[in-house]
């Protein structure tokens, strides 16, 4: 049951294509404008990103909540020789990631100014936006890979061109590491399409066609899945493939870090849902113990490593490793709550960690250091800034009532049913999250400010407005996540149904009255 798109008033308008192409056009425009008129350059960049954001928000409002299939589908033949089409669509799984992308970019364009070469910077940023949008919207394996991979280029230049002291190292590591993973996925994608040809009847890279029609032999499916998994795990990043992330995050300019944490990492986790689980349900279930274990190790490991960091940005980067571990945990637990939680966590982590990076960037702007040891007593001189940081931090810790909790809790409670012990261990991550963030907060914000920090400038109106948007999202989502969850869930349930149909797996469903606790859960 492939939905042909919800009924919407502007049905003829190619919404999704516009989401990809508007930033591209913006990038071209920015590139062509003269560097001598920086205000036009900025205006053009802003206009295209705001337009994209506007379209995404409009799409959100027009999204049919009860429809579980793909909406706003846009499909055109592209490379017929290989059965590749320009096939875009959005469902509950990608919806909020698309909106997040659409909203995040204008915010960072407004909120963060590069120190030099603004024109180039903006052009790359817009290319990046197009790439990310494309990745989330693609329903064609080739198309997905194309966007997935192309994202590396603008990010490479953003880190390398506007980053900090070890930027080239970090950018190169990011690029090569991710590309290394993609190498496997490309072969996997092609093999998937080629092997699916027998069942589908013709060569196609169309995700839906392959997923719905093709069945792979168990061992084949596993190999294919693993080839995808390597690339996605690097992108997530899943322990032990995560070490590019701290470097990339630390060295990236603020906007780069925000985007990287906000949406780029989600390409990996999103990919696991969209391609791992959907295409190879049997293999995904087969690999479940491995990925659950890695996810849990990642949660603990990332948190522990974060605790001992001396660089504030690096600390936040490691916290991402831990947070994304939760998402992977939820993904492989394959229950309605866990998957919904995973998707929600993708968005929420994007918001809260994005905001954290923004704030850390502001600290750097003021103090020109990210070393925790150099910072002290900021709360005394900039209480509002500290308060903003605190709210965002609590969201990251997963305090209920803030958005970070929603995804994390759903993931855990959902995963508990199918991955009991992993979840119990993973839940200790919430202790560690409090530990490393509060410790860092204490060292940076508490205490008596020394000379270097006593001149710390309070948050400005522009910064305040920017952070305010994030905090508003954090609070709203934390207190009233229902609008989000009810859009995510139908698609997630559809995915689970697909998995069940394919594998005979039975997801725990509405366990009211059922008692699963018969296998010795007693002691503590």
């Amino acid at each position: 049951m492939i939905a042909a798109g919800a009924a919407h008033s502007l049905s003829s308008f190619p919404v999704l294509s516009a989401l990809v192409l508007v930033p591209v056009a913006g990038a071209l425009l920015v590139a062509l404008l003269s560097e001598r008129r920086p205000e036009f350059v900025k205006l053009a960049a802003l206009a295209s990103s705001v337009a994209t954001g506007g379209i995404s928000v409009w799409m959100l409002s027009a999204f049919d909540t009860h429809e579980s299939g793909y909406q706003f589908v846009s499909r055109h033949g592209w490379i017929d020789a290989w059965g590749i089409s320009w096939h875009l669509g959005v469902d509950g799984i990608s919806l909020f990631l698309v909106v997040l992308t659409g909203v995040l970019f204008p915010l960072v364009i407004v909120g963060v100014d590069p120190h030099h070469d603004e024109k180039r910077y903006l052009a790359w940023l817009l290319v990046l936006e197009a790439g990310v949008m494309g990745s989330f919207l693609s329903l064609d394996l080739f198309l997905f890979f194309l966007f997935f991979e192309i994202v590396l280029v603008p990010m490479y230049f953003l880190i390398g061109g506007w980053g900090y002291d070890r930027r080239v190292y970090a950018a190169t590591k990011f690029f090569l590491y991710t590309m290394f993973g993609s190498a496997f996925m490309l072969v996997g994608i092609i093999a998937t399409a080629v092997l699916a040809r027998r069942d589908v009847g013709y060569l196609t890279f169309d995700l839906v066609q392959i997923a719905e029609k093709a069945g792979f032999a168990a061992s084949t499916g596993r190999w294919l899945f693993l080839s995808f998994a390597v690339a996605l795990a690097v992108k997530v990043p899943l322990f032990p493939l995560h070490t590019w992330l701290p470097d990339a995050h630390t060295q990236a300019p603020t906007a780069g870090s925000v985007i990287l944490a906000g949406v780029l990492l989600k390409l990996g986790t999103y990919g696991f849902l969209r391609f791992g689980l959907y295409l190879f349900p049997e293999a995904a279930l087969w690999a479940k113990p491995l990925f659950l274990t890695l996810a849990v190790i990642g949660i603990i490991w990332g948190a522990v490593a974060a605790t001992m960091q001396t660089d504030l940005k690096r600390l936040v980067a490691y916290s991402s490793v831990a947070h994304l571990g939760f998402i992977v945990l939820g993904t492989f637990a394959v229950t309605s709550q866990a998957l919904t939680g995973s998707v929600a966590q993708m968005v929420n982590h994007g918001v809260s960690t994005g905001a954290l990076f923004l704030l850390v960037g502001m600290i750097y702007e003021r103090r020109h250091t990210r070393a925790i040891a150099e910072l002290r007593g900021i709360q005394a001189v900039a209480p509002v800034f500290a308060a903003a940081f605190m709210v965002v931090m609590l969201s990251s810790i997963g305090v209920p009532g803030l958005n970070g909790f929603v995804g994390e809790f759903l993931v855990l409670i959902g995963s508990f049913e199918t991955a009991r012990w992993w979840t119990v261990v993973a839940a200790t991550g919430v202790i560690l999250a409090a530990l490393y963030l509060l410790w860092a907060y204490q060292r940076v914000f508490h205490g008596e400010p020394d000379d270097a920090n006593s001149g710390f400038r309070e948050i400005t109106a522009r910064e305040g407005a920017l952070v305010g948007v994030f905090i508003a999202i954090i609070l709203f989502t934390g207190l009233y996540p229902k609008p989000m969850l009810e859009r995510i869930e139908p698609s997630v349930d559809r995915l689970i149904e697909h998995v069940q149909k394919r594998t005979g797996y039975v997801a725990p469903d509405h366990p009211v009255g059922a008692d699963h606790g018969s296998d010795g859960e007693g002691g503590d």
Binding site: W78, I79, D80, A81, W82, F142, F145, L146, F147, E149, I150, L152, V153, Y156, F157, G160, G161, R167, V168, T172, F175, L176, M179, F180, A183, F184, L186, V187, I190, A191, V194, W223, S227
Partner: protein, 501 residues
């Protein structure tokens, strides 16, 4: 004795029209250049370019003609007439057409205005064309020598530059050495089958009963043929000349070597292996497999530590050769390796000429400012040039939305179709290693500041070539359909299909 029955072979000139066009141009260039130098002075590039266009157009027409006619051979089976040859010839023509403007600017800097370099380029193109259509090992050998001798001379042609001379001598000695092996291979194949004609060899191998005992000779012959062509395509371990020669030779010559030279050698290799030696695929496939793997990896790995851009691109071209060999390996399974290899070569031709054109520009008048530090801060000095080079480099790295990705995708696709998964994965991993080198160049251009603000002069013709290359790279990256459709129409003349003894 009776008079020997001699029937002169039928000669259909249209089958060798590209050769005739270039031969005519060659004569015109030489004669006019020698006799009335004023007529053509400064216009050799134009004439050469025109000849390349003429060949391309003629071949395009032939392409559509071949749609209705069956493929076959001409000139007593010495030449194959098929779309494979047509496509390869077109690539060679494209290479010649693209290099000509660059060479023009390059020679202008060297104050060299004689017709001789142009004549050498034309003969090289002819040699290459002969190779791609040769249906006889002897013809192939002669084409190879025509191409090689021209390139030896061209490599050594910058006589003010000791490196050019060294490159020429090294290329010559090693080239002669490998030609000898190739020739020995021909001899052994001849000894085993009694013919040097690919069609005949193929038919004899089909009825291989009578050849049971000659396996060893045949197989060693195949091995030596692989050595000869492997040398030309710079497959590891026959690649050692490549970096030295590419670095030392004048940049436009390097561009032509890396494009037309490779296309010719690969076309010959593909034709040889998949027509004449198709029956022995099980024997040579593992060798190609190993060569492909070695080539991709050694090329990529060694590129990592280079400090000279030309040398980097040389090693990268080794790595690319490995990729094409992946396609060749796939072709042994009857997978779409043939078309994907040729598509790869076509795309790579444009890429590599574009890249070396940039190098030519940056290298300056003495053609030796090619170290990585000479590219430092290029983005600030010449942003458009740097951007163009970046696109070309990204394409070489196989980034999507560029032609390079289409090329790699095609080859990997055919490898997967052939179930050569290990090779496909290994090649992709090799590509990742190779990506490091492109990143290094980009780092130099974009992320490091220049020591001095000297912006290299971009001659108009070279600039146009770079622009065309970049445009093509991006266009094919986004709209590859037509190219792939064309590639899928590529077919080889096969004796099985032709009822011929």
């Amino acid at each position: 004795m009776g008079p020997l029955a001699f029937t002169p072979p039928a000669v259909e000139f249209t089958d060798v029209l590209p050769l005739l066009i270039w031969l005519g141009t060659l004569c015109a260039v030489l004669l006019l250049g020698a006799l009335v130098p004023a007529v053509l002075r400064g216009r050799y590039a134009l004439v050469t370019f025109a000849s390349a266009v003429a060949v391309a157009v003629q071949q395009a027409m032939k392409w559509s003609d071949l749609g209705s006619e069956p493929t076959g051979t001409a000139l007593s089976d010495a030449v194959a007439v098929d779309r494979f040859a047509v496509l390869a010839t077109m690539v060679i023509a494209v290479a010649l057409g693209l290099v000509a403007p660059v060479l023009h600017d390059h020679l202008a800097r060297r104050d060299s205005d004689g017709p001789e370099p142009w004549a050498m380029f034309l003969t090289a193109a002819m040699g290459a064309q002969i190779m791609v259509s040769a249906n006889d090992l002897l013809v192939l050998f002669l084409g190879l020598e025509t191409l090689s001798l021209s390139l030896y001379v061209l490599a050594a042609s910058n006589r003010r530059n000791a490196r050019s001379q060294e490159a020429g001598l090294k290329y010559f000695i090693l080239g002669g050495f490998s030609s000898a092996f190739f020739l020995y291979g021909i001899a052994l194949v001849y000894g085993a089958t009694g013919s040097t004609n690919l069609t005949t060899v193929a038919t004899r191998l089909q009825g291989s009963v009578s050849l049971a005992g000659d396996d060893a000779l045949l197989l060693l012959g195949i091995g030596l043929l692989l050595v000869g062509l492997g040398f030309k395509v710079s497959a590891v371990p026959f690649h050692a000349w490549t970096p030295d020669v590419y670095q030392g030779a004048p940049s436009p010559v390097t561009a032509f070597m890396a494009s037309a030279g490779k296309v010719a050698a690969f076309a010959a290799l593909l034709r040889l292996l998949t027509t004449a030696l198709e029956r022995r695929a099980d024997d040579w496939r593992p060798v190609v497999w190993a060569l492909a793997l070695l080539t991709v990896f050694v090329g990529s790995v060694m590129a990592v530590v280079q400090t000279d851009v030309k040398r980097m691109l040389a090693f990268s071209s080794v790595s690319h050769a490995g990729f094409v060999l992946v396609g060749v390996e796939a072709a042994s399974h009857g997978a779409p390796g043939l078309s994907s290899s040729m598509t790869y070569l076509l795309i790579y031709t444009v890429l590599v000429i574009g890249s070396f054109s940039v190098v030519t520009v940056v290298a300056g008048d003495s053609d030796d400012a090619t170290s990585l530090s000479d590219f430092r801060g290029l983005a600030r000095r010449r942003p458009a040039l740097a951007l163009g080079f970046t696109v070309l480099l990204l394409a070489q790295a196989g980034m999507p939305a560029t032609s390079g990705f289409i090329a790699k995708f095609g080859v990997i696709n055919s490898a997967v179709e052939a179930h050569s998964y290990v090779l496909a994965v290994a090649a992709m991993v090799g590509a990742v290693i190779a990506a490091f080198l492109y990143l290094r160049i980009m780092v130099s251009m974009w992320l490091e500041d220049a020591d001095d603000g000297d912006a290299p002069r971009v001659p108009r013709a070279t600039g146009a070539v770079i622009a065309v290359a970049v445009a093509f790279t991006l266009f094919v990256g986004v709209f590859p359909g037509w190219l792939l459709d064309a590639g899928n129409l590529v077919d080889l003349f096969r004796p099985v299909a032709a009822p011929q003894g």
